[in-house]
């Protein structure tokens, strides 16, 4: 059995604030909003201190609360006026492919200048990757992040964000084609 985990809110900011902040920023691009989310997480956690059962670490528990808040943001961002319709997204695919499904020549994938996953350049890569991800429309980023970073089941994401299964795959596809193009352009 794991030792019982303790909780000490007087040390929360010192111990976890930077961690939670960078966790948030790898999922949400807006710094202001990320700061608010970290703060809200601490305050929400305080309100349910009695629910902490000591089964996980303090940090894991706080991260779980934060994660729910991030999903809330995704849900808000991806519904309503801000969200482009899926039809528009499908239509946009014509930028990359001819009507018959062939790549438009100017958009054909080319070799990246660096193909290997080189740990030495990992930081640079991550920067470009994050920049490219942040250019995605909110709904795409939400779907992509929830799937890839948190490995959530597809059905859960679909019901959480209210997209159909087929639209989910359309968006996953569209996102990757865009992201890949952005990486190619920026990894010079």
């Amino acid at each position: 059995m794991l030792p019982h985990q303790t909780i000490n809110p007087h040390q929360w900011v010192k111990n976890h604030a930077d961690y939670l902040y960078s966790y948030t920023l790898s999922r949400i691009s807006d710094e202001e909003q990320a700061r608010d989310l970290v703060q809200e997480t601490f305050l929400a956690a305080l309100e349910r201190l009695d629910k902490f059962e000591g089964k996980s670490t303090e940090r894991t528990w706080l991260t779980a609360i934060l994660k729910n808040k991030i999903v809330d943001v995704y849900r808000k961002n991806s519904s309503g006026l801000k969200a482009p319709s899926v039809n528009k997204e499908v239509h946009d695919m014509q930028e990359f492919f001819w009507e018959d499904g062939h790549w438009r020549e100017e958009h054909q994938p080319r070799e990246f200048s660096i193909e290997h996953h080189d740990p030495f350049h990992a930081k640079e890569f991550n920067k470009v990757l994050q920049k490219c991800m942040q250019k995605l429309p909110p709904l795409w980023l939400a779907i992509f992040t929830m799937k890839h970073m948190d490995d959530a089941p597809t059905s859960a994401i679909c019901s959480e964000l209210k997209v159909s299964d087929s639209n989910f795959w359309v968006i996953i596809h569209r996102t990757k084609v865009n992201l890949r193009a952005c990486l190619q352009k920026n990894w010079i």
């Binding site: 930077d18 601490f42 305050l43 990246f112 990757l129 890839h148 890949r180």
Partner: protein, 91 residues
């Protein structure tokens, strides 16, 4: 066989299947179709390789997000800790 032809010559469909295969499931028939497509299309083969790499980079971005030098500024942190302490004292 119309559908087979559709994928074999269609890069948009092929890349869609690549993505579906990477994080979900595709049928055996679709797998074979994709292989046939790759046989004749080096561009989509490259797309496949790069897409795989991007996925592992995204995963790595998650795992390694801690050492990134993103930090909250001290003022904000102090204010936040004060708020926490105040709330604790009130209850």
């Amino acid at each position: 066989m119309g559908k087979l032809k559709n994928i074999v010559y269609n890069c948009r469909e092929a890349t869609y299947l690549i993505e579906k295969k990477l994080i979900g499931k595709i049928t055996l028939r679709e797998k074979i179709q994709l292989q046939i497509h790759f046989y004749g299309c080096s561009v989509c083969k490259l797309f496949n390789r790069q897409s795989n790499m991007i996925n592992s980079m995204v995963k790595q971005l998650l795992v390694n997000h801690e050492p990134v030098d993103i930090k909250l500024d001290d003022d904000f942190k102090n204010t936040m800790q004060h708020r926490i302490d105040d709330t604790l004292n009130k209850s």
